[in-house]
Symmetry: C2
Subunit: 243 residues, 2 copies
């Protein structure tokens, strides 16, 4: 098993994607929210790039979700806070979602063999899904405004650790994956503090969204892995008895 | 004090450099070799980009040093192994040097207020020099073929740690610097193994250059900090009694 890692979406190029299982990581908050929404019973999520595309894609009972500059888009039912996506609010609903970075990452990865949405909430489940998919793995840290984001890097490091702990074959990781694995181990005991102190954390806290950070800093609380098929995110179906 | 970090030379853009002290890091092996050569009494080092430029720049007693694909350039006196640059071989000599990445990094950083060459050998001394220069710091991990290299990232993390330990003011580090600081701490007890296992390490070992890796994995063995002035690297002059 080979694991490569890319430090921001903007460094993602099509040749890196071919034949891979891509795990797009946007811990604060898009991929944490996608995981939560599907775990809480949403039927599916349609990630789109622009507000206009979101409005066009939403039909009938569909709900609109998304943010710009960390704030809910005017007229949308939901923003991008995972705490909004409760069972009561979204069971059975189809969600059309647009965020600054997370949905962009998923669209940019579209040429990969499989694209899943990773977060700290489901890092272990992502590793199990990736092994079941039996392909090399590319971790894409979304970053913020084309700059590396600590929370995404630490999540990438956690997924490398989880993959190593369950893979039956040898694992070859590129240098960035190895560095981030070390960083995850080092900050592991103080993960919530690390997320509060990093650049996205400081920004979200200043907007009164500290609760989102604490929620997104939880590890392996969810077994749901959003996977995209024909442009739609649904829960990955695990084969029984594999692990 | 603000510390930013860039993961490869190719991501270095002029606006990032303005007014900064840039520390260019190419642990395997250019900046380790530059530090060693000046510590062992070389008069100065002229870093140039191409083999042709090196031949043009070398006058009289000057010695030519450099590599392509990790191998000594035909007709040059030295390759890029720090072990070649002994006192006997280079005391008083002016060295004209071209390497694939390290000299390129130094040239690309030329618009910064100051440019110094950092390695594990002189990480602590680089931190002291940077504080004496009283400017914000930009760490450039050279990388290999435009890809992040673990050895450069761990050295960047060590320099962040050294800066934090001696700075009297608050230190604000960007997310990549924080991640690499954590990675350095995690691999700190096994630094030589980490360098042997990373991508440059595997390549150098396969060329019989394992001794270079062990040498370059040493920490704070040198107090010499190469700094560029008018295109020439010479030892930074520390003011007395500052630390």
């Amino acid at each position: 098993l080979r694991i490569d890692c890319i430090s921001t979406i903007s460094e993602t190029f099509a040749p890196d994607l071919a034949g891979k299982t891509v795990i797009v990581i946007d811990v604060l908050r898009a991929t944490s929210t996608m995981c939560t929404a599907l775990a809480n019973g949403a039927d599916s999520i349609i990630p789109v790039e622009t507000v206009a595309q979101a409005k066009l894609a939403a039909k009938g009972e569909d709900v609109l979700a998304g943010e710009r500059q960390c704030k809910k888009i005017p007229g949308f039912t939901f923003g991008n806070s995972p705490l909004e996506f409760t069972e009561e609010a979204i069971t059975g609903k189809r969600i059309v979602m647009t965020t600054t970075n997370g949905t962009r990452g998923i669209q940019k990865a579209a040429k990969a063999a499989s694209v899943i949405a990773g977060s700290l909430l489901n890092a272990g489940a992502c590793a199990r899904a990736a092994l079941q998919l039996k392909r090399d793995v590319l971790l894409i840290c979304s970053g913020t405004k084309d700059v590396f984001a600590l929370e995404d890097g630490l999540c990438a490091g956690m997924i490398v650790k989880e993959l190593r702990s369950i893979a039956k074959e040898a694992v070859a990781a590129d240098d960035l994956a190895v560095a981030l694995e070390g960083a995850f181990h080092f900050y592991s005991e103080h993960l919530e503090e690390a997320l509060l102190d990093c650049q996205s954390g400081v920004r979200l806290s200043s907007l009164g969204l500290r609760g989102d950070i604490s929620y997104c800093a939880q590890r392996n609380t969810h077994q749901t892995v959003p996977i995209i098929e024909d442009g739609v995110l649904r829960p990955f179906e695990f084969r029984q008895g594999l692990f």
